[in-house]
């Protein structure tokens, strides 16, 4: 734990290492996310940022290391403890992940109906409130298939907010959206951040969005965090990978001609 332990970290990742088959995806990643801060995990695709998110959500188990959310070890804790923890976490998946067989209203009502003892009329009021919060008031009776991508994400966000989570996680909130709709989602995240005392974690590769919403940014490359700091600090960071990402330079082509020839001929 950190030296200034006046307050417990919202999310604490300790030396996390994971593999997909033989391939190492995350390499000894450690990261502390403070309560009520907005942390953006920034990096190009395949750098392990979504994998890190899936581990924080306990959807996957790491090979090595620990993750604590609100002090609970998500990799090795009792199911009952996890159940309790999940009520305090909300997630917006890349596609929105709405249940296709239910209306928007029912989608938002799922966590309320299943995890609380509220009566149906209260649930209906809450559903309308949450949908109103994301700008979808009056759309309760539509099916997910009738919505645009941006609206599906907003509805997914309303469902994530249903139980007033302390930790809210976003997987690529602007992926697959046009710039205007994406800006609308950023705006919404900013609004939530100002209105509710939540810890927010956003995984993205969108530079503009990251610098707009983040309190701190962690830049990931090849399964490691190569830079961590406020948006201003990241701008100044001289790490070649960070500069490459900020200046949007493409990956350098293979220079070693020997290695290139070997790769063509295959193993002898």
């Amino acid at each position: 734990m950190s030296a200034v332990a006046d307050e417990q970290a919202a999310i604490q990742v300790e030396s996390l290492t994971t593999f997909y088959g033989e391939r190492r995806i995350l390499n000894n990643v450690s990261l502390e996310i403070r309560p009520r801060e907005t942390m953006v995990l920034l990096g190009s695709s395949g750098t392990g940022k979504s994998t890190l998110l899936r581990h924080i959500l306990a959807l996957e188990k790491p090979a090595l290391g620990h993750i604590y959310v609100r002090g609970v070890d998500v990799c090795h804790s009792h199911p009952r403890e996890m159940e309790d923890l999940r009520r305090h976490m909300g997630v917006l998946f890349q596609s929105g992940a709405l249940f296709g067989s239910m209306t928007l209203g029912d989608n938002v009502a799922v966590p309320l109906r299943e995890l609380t003892k509220l009566d149906e009329s209260t649930i209906q009021v809450l559903v309308r409130m949450k949908l109103g919060l994301v700008g979808l008031g009056g759309y309760e009776d539509l099916m997910p298939a009738q919505l645009s991508g941006g609206m599906r994400k907003r509805a997914g966000l309303a469902r994530a907010l249903a139980l007033d989570p302390e930790v809210l996680l976003f997987d690529e909130p602007s992926a697959g959206l046009d710039p205007i709709t994406a800006a609308g989602i950023d705006e919404l995240i900013l609004k939530l951040k100002q209105t509710f005392p939540m810890t927010i974690v956003v995984v993205t590769h969108e530079l503009a969005s990251a610098f707009l919403i983040a309190d701190r940014i962690a830049v990931m490359f090849a399964g490691e965090i190569v830079a961590l700091g406020t948006p201003a600090e990241i701008q100044q960071n001289q790490h070649p990978r960070v500069q490459q990402f900020l200046k949007r330079e493409p990956e350098e082509p293979e220079r070693d001609s020997e290695a290139y020839l070997r790769s063509l001929t295959g193993p002898a």
Partner: protein, 264 residues
């Protein structure tokens, strides 16, 4: 040599993992169907009724038609042989007993496997691809309770019903033969058919049909949960859901036929 050993070793391990996965899913489904509701953890009754309509009621026409054909085929195929011994009348007994003990449950299970194991795998697989299963996990909701139990309950209840329909329609199929080929009046045909049947003939078929229903749900759902790699993955798993469940149904049928032969 080691390569061959490694190949068979890997295959055996994969098969064991598969059976293990099915066992865990089965245990979970039993818990959420029969234990959890008693503990007040709820049962998704409306979803179960919806599944009963999809997998059961909507299958009645096709199950009836195929059972009718099978009954008639059975009559034609056995009649020639029986005629040589002057026992054409026994066609009635053979149709009634073979349908209710064996062919009705088996054909029903094969049809339901084709209709519903594929539907289960495709539905759950699409949900997996759309991150809906992850969403359930992150909300702390049981996938088994939400998605498997309604299907499980639906097939446990609907398979015996469909099998009874198939029993009846198979014997109706035989009556077409009796009426047209050996001029047996319908009344006499039914009296002889019911005379030939013992309660255990029908019951053993119904017991098997419940087992087949469990097999179809488990394999359909397991294949759906195992989808990876987008739309193509859903297609692959849907195919294997049908192939594996039909194979498992026939294997189970063989096992139970042997068992009933000795003990019942």
């Amino acid at each position: 040599m080691t390569a061959i050993l490694a190949f068979f070793g890997q295959r055996s391990l994969a098969a064991l993992r598969y059976v293990g996965g099915l066992a865990i899913l089965g245990k979970d489904a039993l818990y959420w169907t029969f234990v959890a509701p008693v503990q007040g953890k709820g049962l998704r009754g409306r979803a179960a009724i919806h599944q009963m309509v999809l997998a059961g009621v909507n299958a009645i026409p096709i199950v009836s038609l195929i059972a009718l054909f099978v009954g008639l085929i059975l009559a034609y195929q056995t009649a020639n042989e029986l005629r040589k011994y002057g026992a054409t009348m026994l066609v009635v007994n053979i149709v009634a007993i073979a349908m209710s003990r064996e062919l009705a449950p088996l054909m029903t299970a094969v049809i339901v496997a084709g209709r519903s194991a594929s539907a289960f795998a495709a539905e759950l697989g699409t949900m997996k691809v759309g991150e809906e299963l992850d969403a359930l996990d992150t909300m702390g909701l049981s996938k088994t309770k939400f998605l498997v139990v309604p299907k499980y309950l639906a097939l446990i209840l609907m398979m015996p019903c469909l099998t009874l329909v198939a029993d009846f329609m198979g014997i109706v199929g035989g009556s077409i033969f009796a009426l047209t080929e050996i001029d047996m009046p319908l009344g006499l045909y039914w009296i002889r058919a019911l005379d030939a049947l013992l309660m255990k003939d029908i019951l053993s078929g119904l017991v098997k049909s419940v087992i087949f229903g469990i097999i179809i749900t488990e394999i359909g759902c397991w294949e759906g949960f195992s989808v990876s790699g987008g739309a193509e993955g859903v297609g692959r798993r849907t195919t294997s859901a049908v192939v594996i469940s039909i194979t498992a149904i026939i294997a189970a049928d063989m096992f139970f036929s042997g068992l009933f032969y000795y003990i019942w």
